[in-house]
Amino acid sequence: MPRWLYLVPVLVFVALVGYFAAGLTRDPHLVPSVLIGRPVPAFTLPPLPGLGAGLDSAALATGRPQLLNVFASWCAPCRAEQPVLLHLARAGVSVRGLNYKDRPEDAVAWLDRYGNPFTSIGADPEGRVAIDFGVYGVPETFVIDGQGRILDKHVGPLAPEDVEPLIRKVHP
């Protein structure tokens, strides 16, 4: 075996340390999306069993700004984020839910357990609509204006300090 092959493990590890080091300095924050300023993609999603109506693009253009949160019961960061969403909902913000690649019964049990802040929820078990939204992981939160245009996108769990800016965006 050539000698340089023995160097591969340590080189891979050095790259990994680079990522770790960068990861330590990182904070989740708002990142631009190509969809910002564009209308939400057209879609219609069924509801989760027992949880009222589903979700479609029309429900995101009701004349007042709203949030669209992409969540799943298997997503650990979503659990951390749920109290923040509940707080937003109590503050009068309309938060719509997009249940991503989940089993509906798991999602219902999960909402039962961690609280349900959503005005209405669309179940997207295949993740098709999420693709149209450019979602690449959960959680993600979109800020949508009264005309159904995407104003902003937050990747990763919302932190308590994100609440004020979001409320200001939704109730200017």
Binding site: Y19, F20, G23, V31, K101, D112, R113, P157
Partner: protein, 690 residues
Amino acid sequence: MGSKGSPLAAGGKKGDLTPVIPELGHYALVLALLVALVQATLPLAGAARGDAAWMAVAGPAALAQFGLIGLAFAALLQAAVVSDFSVLNVVENSHSTKPLLYKIAGVWGNHEGSMVLWVTILAGFGAAVAAFGRSLPPPLKARVLAVQAMTGFGFLLFILATSDPFQRLDPAPADGNDLNPLLQDPGLALHPPFLYLGYVGFSMAFSFAIAALIEGRVDPAWARWVRPWTLAAWTCLTLGIALGSWWAYYTLGWGGWWFWDPVENASLMPWLAGTALLHSAIVVEKRDALKSWTVLLAILTFSLSLIGTFLVRSGVLSSVHAFAVDPARGVFILGLLTVAIGGSLLLYALRAPALKAGGLFAPVSREGALVLNNLLLSTATATVLIGTLYPLFLDVLGAGKVSVGPPFFDRTFVPLMVPLVTAMVIGPLLTWKRADLAGVLGRLALVAGLATVAVLAALWSHGGGPVMALVGVALAAWAFFGAWVEWAGRIALFRVPLATSVQRALGLPCAVWGMTLAHAGLGIAIAGMTGSAFWVSERIQLVHPGETVEIAGYRLAFRGVEPVTGPNYDAERATFAVTRDGRGIGLLTPEQRHYTVTGMALSHAAIHTTGTADLYLALGDDDGAGGWTVRLYHHPLVPWLWLGCAVMVAGGLVSLGDRRLRVGAPAVRRRPAAAAVAVPVAVVPGSGGR
């Protein structure tokens, strides 16, 4: 762990020292750090110079280090047990009304305490080598203990610099903040110690690997010394993971048992790599081949344990389990990782090319099968690593923290397990060096026949199901029956009189029994996983007292809800009378608990198990009008998941009893050469069949 009985914790006498026990614990840690420094340097220099006196420092130093850290651990335990609220750590994680078990478990239910447990176990393994490793050549022993002490030094420094568990609080509050109620559970009380025994246990394989690289020699004797430590660590890790998973199953409220959470993955990766190591070390031991690969695996296995620790503590990944996050700790552990893993991989790059390649073998052979096992397990490890770190990669590239979750792992990890389990049955039937595949086809056909019967039985009882469910059943039966067909071959069952077979079975080495049990256990566990993935039925329903709910042939009559008071919580307890076909089965009493101190509410599920299925009932909220939401699940085969894990653990324990691995027994004090010759005759698996 052996420190629990130390005089400070057990004494309880109101001696003069009682008020300063936390300070004594702190000093003990500082002393342990100094001892570790001596142990990490002097014996290493001694081994290089051939100085027997310097090398001899290693043993007593390892024992002293363990004694001191054990003392610190006992001091922390004492503070928690007597609820000494002048200690910040106790205030943050305990409460005077908390049951004793959870006062004890609370010691490792937080960052500082769990790190103390971590170094206690690390030093415990070092002390075990010092005490029982009498047959080790002195230079190897000195180097192994020195490397072990380097790891210990790093982590002790970490504790003292960033995570002092003995920090005082003045004035002391009247009572504590209580432990997260999710963690107040018997399964979780024992989960961390076993998990740590597992992945800290791999430090021993790591130390042996580094010592071997320094010495520039890896031989069958080395593998024989490494294997018991790896096996012990693997057994504990298996148990630890199973306990954690069991806990998730009955506490998180909907019967899930594995979430591909970063913290779970952090324990799964060392398990996968450790399983690979366990198997590749066999090849080194028996055939003197795969040496540099085995050394690399030993380094990687422990490195993955360290990376897991880093991921959990630093907050670079979001997780349900994550401890309180502190960037300073993250930076410190990253530095530690860089030195420990980077250093050892560099040493590997420099020294491994000099290791002499050993015996050759044909692709179809026992070695070939074990290489395949290693390839698949390492790929699976890499898959889990990538899936776990992918969110971090995205984050660093500016895309934020996300979770890829089960959709990723279902598509990548599960497909790797299919060939792995398939090969797991074929491998043990093959001979070393060059095997005759045609010769084992007959027995494989028998296993395949039994697996087909199992699939038909599943089809019959469940009326079909997704293809993957049938694949799961086939794999489970293939693994289970494969293990026993191989075992039957060894004892020539039905080919010689039964009495002779029984005699042969009794005479089989423990290692063989261990393998059979572990492989069969995996088969049982796969059946459980399949059942829980594909055949769960559930109902979520609003019920009023007097109404009944039905699921999978069971009738549950709701009698009502009454308030109950626990030691540190108030609860609403629902009572359901369960009947099946008119026969009374018993009462199920799920609870909604409200922990008074933390203010958290927790659903406590009630489970009725038949041995082949679980009836799982969780109480939701009331609707304010006398109705209660209940979630009712029928989980077929899930009990087998826990049974399978228990059988695997039993396999590990039995295998540890094998004579040639018995680390402590004086009987091992044979010349290594003689032992090496004796092994193939006594143990070579598969020799019984031909």
